[in-house]
């Protein structure tokens, strides 16, 4: 396995789910704020599919990361450890959020939806922290 190749694949695959989860967070928050407006339905739909696409996109990102680190799920380097400590909860939460959102469709109350938006906001923070420490790794292993 060529490590440099997998480093590039990991870099190429991680940014897509990062962007999509930010879009999902934005759309879902806007949908919650404008709950009674006609646009809220479109925003909820956009948020839902963004979250699902982000979860699907996170799978190649995780696989390429594991291949790159040769199966090391945590790592010895402090930056790598922090990257993973944020990445694994983010990945788990992303899958859970996407599955829940995909299955519930439009049957959720506003309160339930607010809870989901809260989870998505936490998830976005976790993803941002994962990306930040991923960037720090580029300095540690240029």
């Amino acid at each position: 396995m060529d490590t440099n190749f997998w480093v590039n694949v990991h870099g190429g695959t991680t940014h897509f789910p990062i962007a999509m989860i930010f879009v999902a967070c934005l759309c879902d928050t806007a949908a919650l704020c404008f709950w009674h407006k006609p646009a809220a339905v479109s925003l909820r739909t956009a948020g839902k599919y963004s979250a699902i696409i982000a979860a699907l996109g996170s799978i190649p990102a995780v696989i390429s990361g594991l291949v790159m680190t040769r199966g090391d799920m945590l790592g010895q380097d402090p930056a790598l450890r922090l990257h993973h400590l944020f990445a694994w909860p983010a990945f788990t939460l992303m899958i859970a959020a996407a599955v829940w959102r995909g299955l519930t469709r439009e049957q959720v109350s506003r309160r339930g939806y607010a809870g989901y938006v809260g989870v998505i906001c936490v998830l976005t923070g976790l993803i941002a922290a994962t990306g930040y420490w991923g960037g720090e790794l580029l300095k540690a292993f240029p």
Binding site: A96, V99, Q107
Partner: protein
Amino acid sequence: MKPLAAFITSVVAAGTALGAAAALAAVLRHQEATHSHELPPYVPPADMASVPHDVLVENGKKLYFENCAHCHGDDAHGDEGPDLHGIWVSDRRISTVIKRGIPDEMPTFATKLHDDDIAGLIAYVRSLD
């Protein structure tokens, strides 16, 4: 599907995804342990081949306390630097990190330590496992 049933399903799905990632990691670690790296393996200096392993480890220990213990701790369980027990990286990787250092993390020892010193350090670090 009702929200509660969807919640239970999502927890199961997330657990399955994390479990699958852990299983893939285990397979990759096993493969890493049993297959050669893409780079040629680390070859210690030729003049070190005749040095008994115990002597090599003892030399490495002395060098460790002179150069590394300050950051990695006297017991090598980590202090400012990481724990060195049971590290999974190859001998080549250890040699490269000692020689080149890590920017903003670890100084380079290329001018201070020679190949035979590094061979001793590698033997000492491996003896910690």
